[in-house]
Symmetry: C2
Subunit: 214 residues, 2 copies
């Protein structure tokens, strides 16, 4: 399979928000509760953060474990790396993903304020001021024949959608309302012009939306 | 994740048959049409036999591409290797999987008539007269930390179910009736005593059944 550009396990509230308002160091998703957005994943057997064996092997688990399959690099926006705005003031702070980030590949962080690359576990963060096209070219090269995941947040996914660079999307709609924050869509019909669409309700209550290029 | 024992992408008619009656060299599934049983998979982007790029990236594709993920060995019954019964008469005939079998791992063929191992592409076939427990021990060792797939056919899946050696099953029920042949179940309720169950209808018309140990 030729490598593709994927949005994977991207979580939205029923009203279309990927994160709430008021991002801060303590609240990466603003007023949204990440445990509510990610609850479907936290229940599965393959959630990497699971403290002990157990968890479900149903539909949600297929998506959870597909997160890393055949992915060779991720591109994310700066706000998925940390809450800072403007020039970096503290290079010792290395993102809110901990000492073993769940990416395990090169990660390209889009920012107007570059800083030196560094590795945490088997994830390497690179900081890049670049157009979506140029960032993707870098990520594709680093992915070495595997896929590139567009990791979010909402602004980054929108930017790559607008540049028509995304081949497939997996969006998880969670039965909660956020009312305000970063909005991806008013509904999946926003994307139907360019993508095929399947909607798969999970017994857990979330709905998996799958899109692929027409 | 500790390795598990999986049945994966196992196809059944709506009346519970995995293959028809009258297996022969020309008709591996007897009177059943394999293109009907496997149609859901043949339409997907990740079907390995796809002659050119294309195909769907919806729900069915997730299952198609999960076939090989984290699988390190397969165990199959003799009738999945070939139609012969009794002692082998022709060692030059090397199974109906072609020069590049789709397994890409060691495959253990259960038979009362052993024969020398051989490799085709990156698949190696071993022939074993063994209990399910002993065959699984061999396959687990060969899988080297990855999962073991119980590949079928029906008799082999039933044997491993009876020995309580299966951790998860993915069964695809196809909207066709066979009436006779090798029957796995009268319905998914046959397995509910020992397994959790989710039933996921696909837009293609098949229904994916997911089971995992209670």
């Amino acid at each position: 399979m030729a490598p593709i550009v994927r949005v994977q396990n991207f979580m939205l509230s029923r009203d279309g928000f990927g994160s709430g308002e008021g991002q801060s160091l303590e609240r990466p998703f603003g007023h949204a509760d990440p445990a509510v957005l990610a609850g479907w994943m936290l229940a599965t057997a393959h959630w990497p953060g699971r403290p002990e064996p157990g968890g479900t092997y149903g539909l949600d688990d297929y998506f959870t474990r597909d997160f890393a399959n055949h992915v060779g690099a991720e591109i994310m926006g700066r706000n998925k790396f940390g809450p800072q705005r403007g020039p970096w003031e503290d290079h010792d702070w290395r993102g809110w993903w901990g000492d073993e980030p769940p990416f395990h590949t090169p990660v390209f962080v889009l920012t107007h304020h570059e800083r030196p690359s560094f590795a945490l576990g088997d994830t390497t963060f690179h900081f890049l001021e670049a157009t979506p096209e140029d960032a993707l070219a870098r990520a594709m090269e680093a992915a070495d024949g595997k896929d590139v995941r567009i990791g979010g947040g909402v602004a980054t996914v929108r930017e790559f959608l607008e540049a028509d660079l995304i081949d497939t999307l997996h969006v998880v709609v969670v039965p909660t309302e956020l009312g305000r924050g970063e909005r991806l869509w008013h509904g999946p019909e926003d994307l139907l012009g360019r993508f095929h669409h399947e909607q798969v309700p999970s017994p857990s209550g979330v709905v998996h939306h799958l899109f692929w290029r027409r």
